[in-house]
Amino acid sequence: MAVGTSQKASFAQATWLVAEREMKTFVSTKGFWIGFLFTVVGLFALTVLPTVFGGDDPKVAAVGSAVQVVQGKQLDVREVGDVATAAELVRSDDVEAAIVPDGGGIKVIALNDPPNDVIRQLVAAPPVELLDASAVSSDQRFVTVLVFGLVFLMFGMGGAAIAQSTVTEKQTRIVEILVSTVPVRALLAGKILGHVILTLGQVVVLALTAPIALRVAGQAELLAVVAPALGWFVPFLMLGFVLVSSMWAVAGALVSRQEDLGSTMGLVMLAVMGPYFGVQFFFDNPAVLAVMSFVPFSAGVAMPVRMFAQQAQPWEALVSLGILVVTVVVILLVASRLYTGSLLQTGGRVKLARAWAPAE
């Protein structure tokens, strides 16, 4: 029998093995695919549905001289012989409205509400001049905030898988074998790395499908505006993810059973949801948004949105990115110490101060 065929795995090897196992395990769960599919479908729906619903011209019935009036308008016209037939079509909901001659002009017959989309076609709109014409309309900005925010929220919450996998290791006590085999830091690094790669993979898929979705929706011009912002969003998203993952890992290490996870997840959830709601509420307030775009946790959503709305210069984004990188390093160091200090403590919830205390 060969004795000692093994060389100690290097830190990098150990980290990669842990990452590999995390990815395999996570990808083989149903939750992962459901969540991912949901995001992709949601993204498509958000961009495509407005076009689908808003796309068709309203159906109307026209009688006699009214036919000339509706010609050339964006209406789906059906000519009928008399007013009574037209009214019957309205009543049976075959058309939205009937347009009939009335004295010298015309009259619109509808069922219970004035058909605004039809009326808009029949009146002459006054010319409009925009004093502050922007490439990005308020609606487009709203959609972008919503999408960026949702994607950030999805992946941020997805980091909870790290907490769960850590608790599983503590609960089943395999952690004792792991700790006696590889450095604790390699465990933490591997977990974060594995989930970062998974998230990056999903972001890439989303980034590739988003332009397709926008084209399908006939929003090609929006694509040109979104693309640069998307370029900013990806590094912010990834760094933001590392930030919350290390917090998720600590949340998992502090408890010994899945049932107790709720007690430590609160703060992390706040760090993930806070920026999401903050940006949703304040996206129309440039001052608040500017502050949020430099605060590490909300920067992930706020800065790309500002870039998208052309409210910020590239140097601002770089500064914010720098702040984020420093924060990530600090949080990683803190998390690594807390993780090490709490991983082998079982029974109830480990107090932060105790996890922080130097190892005995």
């Binding site: 599983t168 082998l344 005995e360």
Partner: protein
Amino acid sequence: MLTLRGISRNFGDHRVLDEVSFDVRPGRLTGFLGANGSGKTTTMRIVLGVLAAHGGSVSWQSQVITPQNRPNFGYMPEERGLYPKMKVREQITWLGRLHGVERTIAQRNTDQLLEDLELTDRANDRLEQLSLGNQQRVQIAAALVHDPELLILDEPFSGLDPIAVETVLDVLRKRAAGGVPVLFSSHQLAIVERLCDDVVIISKGRIAAKGSREELRQTHAGDRYEIVVAQDAGWVRDVPGTTLLELDGPRAVFESEPQQVLKAALERGEVRSFTPVVPTLDEIFKEVI
């Protein structure tokens, strides 16, 4: 050889290990005995580096163990645990690789171990689908997959049925025969008595006795003998200086003056057997703790 010298450890004000010293020699199965809470698991955790010692040193091949030079140990913790949702073969191979074994070798070792432990047909089941006894065997495989230089097993036989005990024992003996020092704790004294070469007994954090099994028995044999003669042996109580401890017709157990008793017996007639009484591990254990 694994050497522990003067290991101490406190939990708060409570001293759980006090100057613990013993050796685990290559090629031998060393049984680590002690009551619950006597410090067995703490000692093993310190050897593995899972827990820090507050004094003393642990050396491997006369070098003090540090995280950098910690050799490849095989460890089976007292509280069992592997990933419940991971497949058996995949899991063992992964653990082997985590110990630094190359993938192909890890796979080969895994297959061999699963065969030795009669688990080959469960290789692709998730761990949680196995019975507790089989999970226990998988745990043994996890401790052995990287061909460790030293084996530390905390209660490896608890929860195993007698057949499984034999299977596991075979596997461990094979390793010991290959020159690997094996330290295992147990409270099942009968098993330890039957299979281990060396014994270390710990009581309230101190080493109460240690040595080879035979040595220990000899040292604790005391001055006790058993004699079986042809007729009633009641006369033994009249031999000067001797205390009769037990009498059962022709069989007597007594203490002190064995030569006087033997002489007297031969004068009276036939002696069928005359032996020093060697204590069982159970008796030694009760005596020292």
